[in-house]
């Protein structure tokens, strides 16, 4: 779950990391009003979740009221990599001496936390990594040990052990580590972390992505979450208790496990097709739950067929079959349903489907072939 720059900065400020004075504006008028307080010497920053905002022209600098107005109008009418701009962060401009990069994320390979620091801030860290690997230090932190003094030596080194600078910087590193851990971040990043002409260090940009699994204990972040930025089908799915993934094909895949669904998608691709969406019933679904799942995927107008791929374990095939059978009235005739059932109570499930006029395939490849034929108007099974 991502939050906006201005929200990430609010979290930083709450944790005593300095940020520029500024406020978020939802309209041109509001942007002008906020700018007035800052003597119109402001940065106007489009608030979007996609990366590469700067290069896409999402950040503008104004120095008088007219410029603020013009630039705010321009930004509110812009799309940044397809994302519409609904909020502008209006901030006092800063006199920057040097730009640093500071970030924390998971090292998935080593299964540790990783602290990333660079003296070449302000640009994309991947670019720095590619062009000036010497300018980046990557420090793995054993999560059991936590951040210790010695972890910071490589940062000190890149700053030539400049004591004066380090005395200001190291508390910020510790605070950001605290944020990373205590706000359940997948990623937290300050880029640039700017050393200003007056010697202060401020977070000029901020990125924070929360672990979805930690929603239950991160109310503050959850309050910041902009639901509208999510795919609406996926959102509905979540509200109904399913993991739904929206894709750009025309088959709805309903299955009782993520792996099975992914493999079904792979097989579809080998047949030159892809899914409109994937819905995971997860283990132990009831007929009732199946009916709700069908309703969810039907909200996706891209769907031309529904494919059930079930491998019963805790999940019982007859429950699924019952749910499919009871859903039939709801599904338009134009949308064929194909099924595959295997595992716990498979025979009973197939029997129920048969009564409902549906055949069941026995394996994954077969059911995928069936759905391809069905969409092409052929006979199923």
């Amino acid at each position: 779950m991502k939050i906006y720059e201005y929200q990430a900065k609010q979290i930083f400020a709450d944790n005593e990391i300095e940020i520029p004075v500024g406020k978020v504006a939802l309209s041109v008028e509001e942007a002008v009003r906020i700018s007035a307080e800052l003597d119109y010497k402001v940065a106007l920053k489009a608030q979007v979740h996609v990366g590469g905002r700067g290069k896409a022209g999402g950040i503008k600098f104004a120095s008088n009221k007219t410029e603020v107005e013009e630039l705010a109008v321009e930004l509110f009418n812009k799309k940044i990599k397809g994302e519409i701009v609904e909020r502008l962060l209006v901030e006092a401009q800063q006199e920057i001496k040097e730009e640093l990069y500071l970030g924390l994320t998971l090292n998935r390979t080593k299964k540790t936390d990783t602290l990333i620091f660079s003296r070449s801030g302000g640009m994309d860290i991947e670019e720095v990594a590619a062009e000036n690997p010497d300018q980046i230090v990557t420090i793995d932190i054993d999560p059991v040990l936590g951040l210790q003094g010695f972890h910071l030596t490589p940062i000190a080194k890149i700053l030539n052990f400049d004591k004066n600078l380090l005395n200001k910087l190291i508390p910020i590193v510790k605070k950001l580590y605290f944020v990373y851990k205590n706000y359940d971040c997948l990623l937290v990043e300050i880029n640039p972390l700017a050393i200003l002409e007056d010697g202060r260090i401020k977070a000029l940009d901020g990125k924070l992505e929360m672990d979805d699994n930690a929603r239950y204990r991160q109310e503050k972040l959850l309050d910041m979450w902009d639901e509208k930025k999510e795919d609406q089908l996926e959102l509905i799915g979540r509200q109904e208790g399913f993991v739904v993934i929206k894709l750009n094909g025309d088959v709805a895949i309903i299955s009782n496990g993520a792996g099975l669904a992914i493999s079904t998608l792979d097989s579809l691709q080998r047949h030159g097709k892809t899914a409109a969406n994937i819905l995971d019933l997860s283990g132990g679904a009831t007929a009732e739950k199946v009916k709700r799942a069908v309703k969810v995927v039907l909200k996706d107008s891209d769907v031309k067929a529904i494919l059930f791929n079930i491998f019963g374990g805790i999940t019982r095939c007859e429950e699924i079959a019952q749910g499919v059978s009871e859903s039939l009235n709801e599904v338009p005739a134009s949308i064929p349903i194909v099924c595959r059932m295997q595992g716990t109570n498979r025979d009973q499930g197939i029997e129920i489907l048969k009564c409902a006029g549906l055949n069941a395939a026995t394996d994954l490849e077969e059911v995928v072939e069936n759905v391809v034929k069905a969409i092409q108007g052929g006979e199923v099974g």
Binding site: L106, T109, R217, I245, S255, I262, L265, D266, S282
Partner: protein, 290 residues
């Protein structure tokens, strides 16, 4: 033989008084697992399926000499329960819950590792050594005893693969679900050496998927160390970049890192045979076993 668990493994069930814990404690007992006790703080008066219930893991271990624990505990309490099990000296801990915050697992994995504990999961159906012991909730009827070792990130794909194998009369030594999370306990690389040392495991099947680099790490290990042949399957070649495909860990990074294509390339370079389809697995196993 088998790895990690067998008939002698004494298992406790943390969260045994809950619906799932109680249900699967019974199924495990029926399967033949040596379940010796349950743990549920404040419920030590109760008795579940004839099993004593203790307030703490430490008491359960002291009284029963348990070796292993399986946790039927909600995600928000899983970290504490895992740490309790490790602290009590257990060397095998299976965490089945899905949806555990990754910082919790990061801590648990590293703490388990330092304490020489094999942590399986989270987000896993568990581990089974067919006809010997099952510490998990998989539908056990599809498993057959034999000489294929299997490790899978996905639960359903492990069922699918096992079903295909058993249908062709190819049994399994031990089948382990390591879970679909980006951070888990034991990974492919942690488990492969155990299979390699097991004289009864003649081939190992590794069912990977997009996201992360655990398969690549395994490939490097296999190339340099494994004597037992390994067959790999990778799910997710059709997954678009940047989409989390149901499992928290199943995501191809923008830029293509963690893609099925790349993983297969690395595995192939390490001379590991790739099963393009799940149905290819029995054929490839047979080739090695015969």
């Amino acid at each position: 033989m088998s790895i990690i668990i067998d008939k002698n493994t004494k298992v406790i069930v943390q969260g045994i008084t809950g619906r799932e814990g109680s249900f699967h404690a019974k199924l495990m007992k029926l399967y033949g697992t040596n379940v010796v006790a349950g743990v549920s703080p404040g419920k030590s008066e109760e008795d579940v399926h004839g099993l004593p219930v203790f307030d703490t893991v430490k008491e359960a271990v002291n009284k029963t000499g348990a070796d292993a624990s399986i946790l039927f505990v909600p995600p928000r309490f899983t970290k504490d329960a895992v740490l309790e099990a490790i602290d009590a000296g257990l060397k095998i801990v299976v965490a089945v819950a899905e949806g555990i915050p990754f910082h919790d697992m990061l801590y648990c994995r590293n703490y388990a590792f330092k304490n020489n504990c094999i942590l399986i999961g989270p987000n896993t159906p568990g581990i089974i050594s067919p006809n010997k012991s099952k510490v998990g909730f998989m539908a056990d009827t599809i498993y057959k005893e034999g000489s294929v070792g299997l490790i899978s990130r996905s639960a359903t794909l492990s069922y699918e693969a096992v079903n295909n194998l058993s249908a062709e009369e190819i049994g399994q030594s031990t089948v382990i679900g390591i879970g679909g999370d980006p951070v888990q306990g034991a990974t492919f690389k942690d488990l492969l050496p155990m299979f390699d040392e097991d004289p009864d495991t003649k081939v190992v099947v590794m069912i990977g998927e997009i996201g992360g680099s655990d398969e690549e790490e395994a490939a490097a290990y296999i190339k340099d160390n494994m004597k037992t042949p390994v067959i790999a399957f990778i799910a997710g070649e059709a997954a678009p970049e940047g989409k989390r495909m149901g499992h928290a860990g199943a995501i191809v990074s923008p830029g293509g890192e963690g893609s099925a294509e790349y993983k297969k390339q690395v595995l192939t370079e390490a001379k590991i045979e790739i099963a393009e389809k799940l149905t290819d697995i029995p054929t490839l196993c047979k080739k090695i076993l015969n």
